[in-house]
């Protein structure tokens, strides 16, 4: 909850700030008054102002660690099942994993008709990884940051990687690169033709077509990444606001608790849905990249 020394807006800002490690430019005055020397320095940011001053040469340590950690969890879990997977009667975790695999496999089969060994594992990775990252949203928002702050003195901590636009866009751009790769590989020159001659099949319209198609093409990864980010960021934001409500006085505890539970239940729907949408759109985009007209 917001401590007495924090205002609500400080509390919210604190929760929306990543643990950032990056390069501060030379001459920058830090929060504690220290001035960065000539040539800049790589430091841990002490607040949102420093983090934004770092620009591109910074890394969100918390997002990166949580996302790779969850990715490794996914790999470890599924690898264990893959090793154990036998033809006998499956049980426990094997059942769950096989259910997910079967679900992803059938979704891929329904949507993607080409022959590509990459699509199904890609879809599985996206689905499970995004699901795990989204699930972090259900951990009480103050729990991990507070514990880390008290135990290890970590000043900022955002534990839901998918509320970091870098994470979602990183995956979306990865998918985009695959789209371009397969478009060019499968269609070759036809890809350029497709960009130039749709929707108006006349040479005079080539610039118009190119403009529209390129915008449409670029919109795909951005909508993909920003959709996931927006949903989870908004969800996280509401959790933060509800948590802030707890500090508004004893009278607010009951409605805040009610809101918390309601929103958590509703969010339980959003979490797998967004993971599923990300996966399905990836499959659809890649399937479009494979279709030669």
């Amino acid at each position: 909850m917001a401590g007495s020394s924090q205002t609500v807006s400080e509390y919210i800002t604190h929760h929306l700030t990543n643990l950032t490690y990056g390069e501060l430019p030379g001459g920058f005055e830090r929060e504690d008054g220290a001035i960065i020397g000539e040539g800049g320095a790589w430091v841990m940011a002490h607040g949102a102002r420093e983090a934004s001053a770092m620009g591109f040469s910074a890394i969100h340590v918390d997002s990166m660690l949580w996302s790779t950690g969850l990715g490794i969890l996914f790999c470890w879990l599924f690898r264990r099942v893959a090793k154990k997977a036998e033809t006998g009667v499956p049980s426990g975790l094997v059942n769950v994993v096989e259910m997910i695999v079967e679900f992803v496999d059938s979704t891929v089969r329904d949507t993607f008709h080409g022959n590509n060994k990459l699509i199904a594992p890609l879809a599985l990775t996206i689905f499970v990884w995004v699901l795990l990252m989204n699930l972090m949203d259900l951990v009480p928002i103050d729990l991990v940051p507070k514990v880390l702050e008290v135990v290890a003195g970590v000043p900022f901590q955002k534990i839901v990687p998918s509320t970091d636009v870098n994470i979602t866009l990183g995956m979306a751009i990865g998918v985009f690169i695959l789209m371009l790769y397969y478009s060019i590989k499968i269609k070759g020159f036809g890809f350029l033709k497709e960009l130039s001659f749709t929707p108006f099949n006349h040479w005079a319209f080539i610039p118009v077509n190119l403009f529209m198609e390129v915008v449409g093409l670029l919109a795909k990864p951005f909508s993909l990444g920003l959709r996931l980010f927006g949903n989870l960021y908004a969800g996280e934001m509401i959790f933060i606001l509800i948590a802030a409500l707890f500090s508004a006085g004893v009278a607010w505890m009951v409605p805040a608790g009610f809101l918390q539970v309601t929103w958590a239940i509703f969010h339980l729907l959003i979490i797998p849905l967004q993971a599923f949408i990300f996966m399905v759109l990836t499959i659809v985009y890649l399937s479009m990249a494979h279709e030669d007209h």
Partner: protein, 156 residues
Amino acid sequence: MNINLTLIGQMIAFVCFVMFCMKYVWPPILAAMAEREKKMADGLAAADRASHDLELAKQKAVERLIEAKHEAASIVDAANKRGGQIVEEAKSAAVIEAGRVKTAAQAEIEQEANRAREHLRGQVAALSLAGAEKILGAAIDQKAHAGLVDKLAAEL
């Protein structure tokens, strides 16, 4: 909301995880599932076959049972017939034996009676001779009257 190196880091992690999944996760799981599916199909087919076999075996068993019943009935019939025959044979043998025993007995009785008769006849001759002597008061010459006495004895 700063775009920074995290983006690149995430892309690298993404590629690594997808490649790991593609190499070490997806193929074995799918292979195991496919194999299990095949095993289950085989198992179901085997079960079908087995129930079919069971049906056949039941049918065969019923046939065997009926056959066995028929056989048993015929055996019992034959045994009954043979038993009757044996009884008949024994009966007739007994009858024959009884007849034989009876004739033998009758013959013996006859013989006995004849012997007794002969004996009696002798005695009667002697008696009648003695009686005649007494009546006649004189001895009858045994030799002279032997023919007469024998004749008498034969008449008795």
